[in-house]
Symmetry: none
Subunit: 121 residues, 4 copies
């Protein structure tokens, strides 16, 4: 079965996000070889160019490097991954705090709630 994409965001960005998540989570570790463009194109049921564009995004961020003949690899620089993970957390959190803001909930209140809540287990 093809992957699931929403109709709002460009598909290549959705694929890039998905791959980024897998790298950040460590599904593909530091220096690991990533699946080939054709492989991904088949499993996602999209045009290989779309996969290529997704990789472009990741390469621009420094998360992925291409070694011409051998394929594409996760960067060996752990620091880069950590930075991107941090930036992602920052961006998502800011959006979230803004959405809470429109209900008059502040960051401090959120922290108190998180520390007291049982959401995670």
């Amino acid at each position: 079965m093809a992957w699931q994409f929403n109709a709002i965001e460009p598909i290549y960005l959705q694929i890039a996000d998905r791959l980024m998540g897998q790298i950040i989570r460590g599904v593909y570790g530091c220096g690991d070889r990533l699946p080939s463009v054709r492989e991904l194109a088949l499993s996602a049921e999209v045009n290989p160019n779309t996969i290529q564009r997704a990789f472009m995004e990741l390469q621009n961020k420094g998360l992925v490097v291409t070694e011409s003949t051998a394929g594409k690899f996760v960067t060996k620089n752990e620091e880069t991954i950590r930075e991107i993970k941090g930036a992602l957390l920052a961006a998502k959190t800011e959006t979230f705090l803004n959405s809470l803001n429109s209900y008059g909930i502040t960051k401090e209140q959120l922290i108190i709630y998180l520390k007291g809540g049982k959401t995670d287990g």
Copy 2:
């Protein structure tokens, strides 16, 4: 100018959410009179029935009470408002934590980030 609505969620729910936010934030305080159905219909540029439905939601939640010919009012029960604010925070936070989870970020990491971060200032 008409309000902005997205095409995904029903308009009446978006209006209900907006009003709920204003009540929770205190834009409309405990016991305050809310704008009339027709008034809101004009400013939102929607059918009065749509506003009516939005209010139904808020009345079901106990956030709004209506005094037949006098208009609609925010509940005088502060406790109700606080409860709903809490439930809302819980729901939004759970969704957020789930989205972070797909990047391998845990609640604890989020708390650490929030306490150290500069997002708010």
Copy 3:
């Protein structure tokens, strides 16, 4: 033939009551599929929107759940049904006792009468 409605209470509430009665009595059992909105609209000879509103009431009470394209179903939670039946009995009884009160008849007298009376047989 159309159903009978009084002119005092809103039709949609009368329909909701009628359906609630049927669910509580077990005419529609736990998890049973209810007639479709359009079907009921035809037999009651009212607008489908009116039926829809009636169902809204029942859904708010948790008595009915809707499975988008499959139809509407009685909740599978027997407990919910029992609770609502109890609440209904309590409400009706209180009103009744109040009306007796204005004739100086107490609850105790009513109990005695019920136990001795032949109303049921």
Copy 4:
């Protein structure tokens, strides 16, 4: 202020009911003199004929007797009052049980509820 009447039932019957309630409750005891027609007409803000008709109802039931020059009196026969009180209780209860019946609630269930409930205090 005038008394409150609903628009459904004839006013004279509503007045008769009100007076009957007062007699049954003992507001006007066995053999007591009742207010005059004119007096009642003034306080109820209705035509004296309407009061007269109300009294006719009570006289037909044997609850009130007219002593031509002295006015109208509650019957001295306590038994009559008790009978009417009983008949009233029977009628109201039957209606009530029928309404419960449409929700599948039996007389026995009502008795159990009444004995266990706290409705009265």
